[in-house]
């Protein structure tokens, strides 16, 4: 996983509440056995017309947002299906940070596993950032994870909260499995302590 440094980038505004993961990446694009290449299908239903042509009104189709790396979104972003294809598609498009008043739990967790930083900020502040984002490439937003601040184009700093362990993993690009395997002895001991009536799935 790539380390998350200081991000200074264009932010795209997506002022819709309850954007679900089917909207981020429809199920018909989940028939892949790879993690990469999903960016082209990101927000497919919103981004493309029936005939496959780009919908010129959709934010990410506008010239100034084609290289956006930050998404400012509405509340309960990422609700619905647990598909990790949602953060994979965002990342493949180039989005490294999503800012919203709230996120659905599974999507929020999946972001961290892929080097994407989801930032929760109050709705009023998200509205200000939405207005900043509306200025396109003229107004870049900075996200400094180490200092836990979002810096608006006018220099105003907004502090945000992030789980200390997840911050550590993101800053250092750490793989959870490697960290967990440091607890292998404790896992062995736990398994040895389990009651004998617990059935195994065998003889299938």
């Amino acid at each position: 996983m790539e380390k998350f440094g200081v991000l200074n980038a264009t932010a795209a505004p997506l002022n819709l509440a309850n954007v679900d993961t089917d909207k981020i990446i429809p199920a018909r694009f989940l028939k892949t056995i790879k993690r990469s290449g999903l960016g082209v299908h990101l927000f497919a239903g919103l981004r493309y017309e029936d005939n496959g042509a780009e919908n010129p009104e959709f934010v990410l189709n506008q010239q100034k947002y084609r290289k956006a790396e930050i998404l400012v979104a509405g509340e309960n972003f990422g609700c619905g299906s647990s598909r990790e294809h949602a953060p994979w598609a965002l990342l493949d498009f180039g989005i490294k940070c999503v800012i919203a008043p709230s996120f659905a739990d599974i999507f929020h967790g999946n972001c961290f596993k892929n080097g994407i930083l989801p930032i929760v900020l109050p709705a009023a502040i998200c509205e200000q950032l939405m207005a900043d984002a509306a200025m396109g490439t003229n107004a870049k937003i900075t996200v400094d994870l180490e200092r836990q601040v979002v810096v608006r184009p006018d220099g105003t700093e907004i502090a945000f909260e992030v789980d200390a362990f997840r911050k550590h993993c993101l800053l250092n690009g750490l793989d959870d499995i490697g960290l967990t395997l440091e607890h292998a002895a404790a896992i062995d001991a736990y398994e040895a302590s389990q009651p004998g009536w617990q059935p195994a799935i065998s003889g299938v």
Binding site: N15, L16, A17, N18, D20, D22, K23, P26, A27, R28, L30, K31, T32, I33, K34, R35, A44, G45, D50, G74, E75, N76, C79, G80, S81, S82, R83, E84, P87, S102, A104, D105, I106, G109, N110, K113, N114, D163, A164, F165, D176, I177, L179, T180, L181, H183, A184, A186, I187, Y190, E191, P195, G196, W197, Q198, P199, A200, I201, S202, V204
Partner: protein
Amino acid sequence: MTARTLFDKIWDAHVVERMGDGTCVLYIDRHLVHEVTSPQAFEGLRAAGRGVRRVDATIAVVDHNIPTDVDRLNGINEPESALQIATLERNVAEFGVPYFPVADARQGIVHVIGPEQGISLPGMTIVCGDSHTSTHGAMGALAFGIGTSEVEHVLATQTLLQKPAKNMLMRVDGVLPPGCSAKDIILAIIGKIGTAGGTGHVIEYAGEAIRALDMAGRMTVCNMSIEAGARAGLIAPDEVTFAYIKGRPFAPKGPDFEKAVEYWSSLPSDAGAVYDKTVVLDAAEIVPQVSWGTSPEAVVPITGVVPDPAAEADEGKRAQLVRMLEYMGLQAGEKLAGLPVDVVFIGSCTNSRIEDLRSAARVAHGRHVADGVRALVVPGSGLVKRQAEEEGLDKVFLEAGFEWREAGCSMCLGMNPDKLTPGQRCASTSNRNFEGRQGPWGRTHLLSPAMAAAAAVTGVLTDVRELA
């Protein structure tokens, strides 16, 4: 000792290690694997030279993209689906994971077969790379959906790194009126608390109306916990649970079963246990529900009308409501009852168990699917299908003009040949009405199996109570 909730007890029993910041290494008892969210996880194991830590706690099955016609036994036409299924078969063989192949009667939707086989048991932690894993909470287990990175994590370590959720009590008092079912309870709950109402929480469903549900009904309720924003839903195990489990293939047997019941009986929340949030609903006030929009919270009684976005103060939410109306082809103030449907889908991990099929068959019996309507019945597993055929339900459906299909996720999510064409309106017993969920530009109305059958035979959204 402090009074604990059902969730607290299961959580505490699975903490391998608790770290300074409260993150826990949480042991996972059961891992259900399917073809869509696992290929990248197995690939990750292979790249790191890791194996599956406990194949005897893991079960794999194909459900999401498998076609539901009998021809599927002769191979799958769609190359990407065929590759994904072949990849799963290669992975389970290479890593030694138990697997129900498509030709096995035990194949079916992962959230149907877990309880059906006695694989999902009370007090367990159960995960799957699918958000509707919450279904298994009906057994009194802590069951939740995970992403593919976590699928790999569980395969490699049999644990997850997690922080405990908050406790929410959803008490449904009273007696459910005739014509209503578990589906109407959960849709009414989501309509009340919203799709983010349970975020950060595990919902424990309790109260007279929940206790009165059979296991299939409890699974329907827990299934849609994720649509209320909660990662998991739970119902305390009781005599109904134990009777359901007894004799199932992978459940404990003989003296082990007695020991298990003794432990399971200790799991219900203690008197005086504290919940972070409590919501109470009166079952007697529930009317058959139907969704009108593209979010499960956009739900009204069948006697109701499409709401007016102008009444919404928040700009982001108003924009969402306006888009919903446009997408669904509806006007504010329009009545739901009487709206013509093109397709009816009875199936999915929410409503494809034998009890659901019986409920739909009672309405279909002696009637016929309306002209121009396509109606599908898709059992949740090969065993559900077999039992339905033994009871003659297949004949009821076939004589009424329904299609009787093979087990799978089918039209719930548009990943297999069963999907809506653009603009089609569908009365569906599934769980999500998101844009394009059942196929690009398809329009979904969520409802119960009985309500779906009523829509099939009348050709319009119908209050099933009027067909009695």
